[in-house]
Symmetry: C2
Subunit: 191 residues, 2 copies
């Protein structure tokens, strides 16, 4: 999506360790008009996928997920992050390791919001190692619901999340796909 | 806002201790169409307030804040919650006590996203004791920016947050204002 690639070139910063900082429009300060355009684009790409619900993880996934839900006219569920859970009878939970924060979290979704008839679309801001997406896939498996697609605003294609999702046979749509970082600039994948 | 009051009557649950559970449309599962309508209503009420930015706190404030930002055409900043912070030179921080979770958190906003010319609107899902809003007011004070308004989806008018905001001379708009809980049902304020 050219609009997004241009915005990343203009406003993104590449930090040491292949970290792309986009906190001025995506994950701390948020540009609502851009989120609306991203949501419309996700909705276009998954228009025929029969989506009934969108899943994301708090907090950075919420803005693009809610805009996608607006355009697909389906509810959005954001999984909650916890240190660790004791009483979990009413929750679906999964373990998620954060590479950036180097901590394990549980994520959870209330059981009453998922039913076997659901076909869900997972939306998140970033796909790198794919830990958050994997956690949502784990929850979907436990809840016996079908994951019809994964949509991410930005993917680092060279990290393992991309392969994990496509190897699972799930439609993956990244609105910007980073092929490499070179000399503190971003190279986008061509296709 | 009648639409929202009807939705609370229909889908909300009153739990012991005056807790209103609205996690099926506001703060776990989210109804994007409703969020869009709430955002449009906040935008209407603050149309003449000269807002340049919206502040909220992760996570439940993000959906209504981003929709309000869409309609007011301004950026949204969501403050991050932390256990406690050590390196904070580049951040504005404030302490926030959560009554529901009974923990102290720091919230923070990167300094480069606020400038003295800003006139901000604070948006959040709930106003009860007003701890989160107070934290954002503290940050605004440190950053020397003017708070032109506070918009909350649901307020419990009988708790101290309402008085705290209005006593500070700040325009407060609650889209649903709960006057009391009686026999596990909600009574809304008349005005």
């Amino acid at each position: 999506m050219k609009l997004l690639e241009d915005r990343i070139r203009q406003d993104g910063t590449v930090l040491p360790g292949n970290v792309l900082k986009v906190d001025n429009f995506l994950n701390h300060q948020v540009d609502p008009q851009l989120m609306n355009q991203l949501g419309a684009e996700f909705a276009r790409r998954f228009a025929d996928a029969g989506i009934t619900k969108i899943l994301t993880v708090e907090s950075s996934g919420i803005a693009p997920a809610v805009m996608t839900g607006l355009h697909l006219n389906v509810p959005v569920i954001f999984a909650r992050k916890h240190k660790s859970l004791t009483l979990t009878d009413h929750l679906y939970t999964a373990k998620v390791y954060s590479y950036t924060k180097q901590v394990n979290n549980d994520i959870s979704i209330d059981r009453r919001f998922l039913s076997p008839e659901d076909r869900v679309l997972i939306i998140d801001d970033f796909l790198a190692n794919g830990q958050a997406v994997q956690g949502l896939l784990d929850i979907a498996k436990t809840a016996q619901i079908e994951v019809a697609g994964v949509g991410v605003v930005i993917e680092k294609r060279f990290q393992k999340g991309h392969k994990m999702v496509t190897d699972a046979g799930i439609q993956l749509e990244a609105l910007a796909s980073i092929a490499a970082f070179e000399n503190n600039t971003v190279t986008f994948a061509e296709d």
